[in-house]
Symmetry: C2
Subunit: 385 residues, 2 copies
């Protein structure tokens, strides 16, 4: 292992200058200036542990205690907050601590892949609620009640209901309040996956009536990853945050501590701006709806709910697909043509179906995206298609 | 939630200028300049996912694939590497994927608290190997064989042996090669907790003969947390990195991905310097032994193995304890007197027993630490004690 052979790992640059970022995965995680400053200040491993007395969430300097015990719960209407390394880790933590192997979990068909994997890791049987299919792919939450009855008839034990709000493909927002009533009626806890909601749009879990929300700092709260949290009703606190029989200060499910420094500090540093942007959510929705209309004028169809209520959107284009069949770059032509215009976020190789987010880009920049699609489409004369 | 009330979360400073850091938790995690640059460049949430095709460890740009599949395995003599969010998550991942509830795990009494908590979370019965007690607290690995026989006699199933190397209190390095032979004889896998070893001292798991090592980036590899990894023998790869039945690219135990950006990039950026410092390990040991001797000249006794083979050391001082009984600041006097001299890392409130690390500080700075202890001791005349 020579020094020269290791040089490839240093000075790696990420070309973000002038980038128009429409990647749904990244649009809500771009750091604020405050968070970027914090990164440098608190970047060292275990930096926040300078004043720790054995429990991360009780550190008073920096003001982690206040953030975790007062500010975050108020922000999302939770009785208690538990920090995690991300939304997926939060899902596993909940499933693993409240369910037994062989129990059922009922999830929406639009769930993120990590919902399936977390349930699989826990050893749960998965019952899916189908969506309405093309073109809206909506989740009718009444179907959860049918599923509950069906499983109960066969004496299955249902540990948890899970709804993805919004889902990460279509950006649909199913009727969570109605599902919360079903959850209450059958006394089965309800977990709302808000990885694409908390930090972008207003979410108050007490008003929605859910037992748990899981949030992602690096996905939607302008944080450096990995970090997230669980918001919960009081009744779950003693289960999820149960202390070790060996070390009475340490929480079993968190293995003592999850986030251990930098990522939590960036979550805190970005938080004031995140509160601001959540207040501006109606403008985000308007921007998304305008973008959708402009794309449709080009013949690129928006799938999912309409009029759309979220910045994450799924599009379909037969024309772009046809071009990919003829272009010498094949299915990579769209990615490359967008990249040339510094537009990032549509996955390489996709042409017929792709998702994007209008969250981070200004209307001006989004106009450039629309112009780009218009140019790309018009540069292939109809007869060649 | 007013903007003013949230100002406390921004512009938080950490006073590290001129700091002499002897905190065992932090000494190996201080970022290199290269890692600090990388933080700013790759700090955004999901930044490394620009070019991801569904699996983090296969990303070619930046060179994560090469790092995870070639460079790291060679560095520690592993057949395969699995990234984690830290050492504790690695321990849980191993226990949870190879053991069943009610199985036994045999661990050394000097284990880190997260070893207990991870076993508890998995539902394992813990059998402890006692240390030799005061003053060396050594682990005699032959006792593992006695424990195995004892549990087998009662028809218990032993899923795993675990040894902490070195432990986080005394910095002792038990005879791991001998334990590996016992592990082989009884065909019980051996997990070596090297959170304080990999990144500081040379570790080749194939030469040691262990099944697993777990490492911590933020503890010992100059990385921003949370990040770590598991090194394993080939035979465990299909168990630990088993793929989801629902998403064939996604690993169940990792919930798809663990580290998702910044922390991994800092691990990579610091790696060339980490390789260099591991090569200089004999000088680190010499420095630790010199420090221990100087402290003993002041009447502060080093507990744990002697001559000491690691930078992490445990000290005992009856004198400092006696002072704390008289001083108006009570047991916080030592912390405050050291802090005044910009020496950080001995926990507030400790006087009789405390641990520290000589890893990050130069010999010159450590001389200042010794001088500080000498001054503190001499400033309290004998007759007042």
């Amino acid at each position: 292992m020579t020094n020269d052979s290791l040089k490839k790992f240093i000075n790696l640059k990420r070309e973000t200058k002038g980038m128009i970022n429409i990647d749904p995965l990244q649009a809500g995680g771009i750091l604020t200036d405050e968070a970027r400053q914090t990164l440098v200040e608190w970047g060292d491993g275990f930096s926040v542990c300078d004043f720790c007395q054995g429990k991360l969430s009780e550190i008073k300097t920096p003001p982690i205690f206040d953030f975790v015990h007062n500010v975050l719960p108020e922000f999302i209407g939770a009785d208690a907050i538990c920090l995690t390394n991300g939304a997926r880790e939060g899902k596993f933590m909940i499933m693993y601590s409240i369910a037994k192997q062989g129990d059922f979990i009922i999830i929406d068909k639009n769930s993120h892949y990590t919902t399936y994997v977390a349930a699989e890791r826990t050893g749960l049987k998965i019952k899916e609620i189908e969506n309405s299919g093309y073109p809206e792919f909506k989740i009718d939450v009444n179907k959860y009640e049918d599923a509950i009855k069906e499983i109960k008839k066969e004496n299955g034990n249902i540990a948890l209901l899970l709804l993805t709000w919004p889902d990460g493909n279509y950006g649909n927002l199913p009727d969570v309040k109605k599902l919360a009533k079903i959850s209450g009626k059958y006394k089965i806890p309800l977990l709302l996956n808000t990885a694409y909601a908390i930090g972008r749009m207003p979410v108050k879990m007490n008003e929605l009536g859910v037992d748990f929300v899981i949030a992602s700092g690096h996905k939607s709260m302008a944080s450096s990853g990995p970090i997230g949290f669980i918001g919960m009703k009081k009744e779950w606190e003693n289960i999820l945050m149960k202390k070790s029989q060996y070390f009475p200060k340490k929480e079993i499910e968190a293995l003592g501590c999850t986030a251990r420094g930098t990522s939590l500090m960036t979550l805190m540093a970005s938080f004031p701006k995140v509160v601001e942007r959540v207040n501006q959510w109606p403008e985000q929705v308007k921007k998304a709806q305008w973008f959708s209309e402009e794309m449709e004028k080009l013949g690129i169809k928006q799938l999912g709910e309409k009029p759309h209520q979220h910045d994450l959107m799924f599009f379909e284009s037969d024309k772009l697909f046809e071009i990919s069949q003829k272009d010498k770059r094949g299915r990579y032509f769209l990615y490359q043509k967008l990249k040339k215009r510094n537009i990032w976020g549509i996955k390489p190789g996709l042409t017929k179906h792709f998702k994007l987010s209008t969250f981070a880009a200004t209307k001006e920049k989004l106009q450039k995206v629309i112009n780009a699609f218009a140019e790309i489409l018009s540069s292939y004369p109809q007869q060649t298609l």
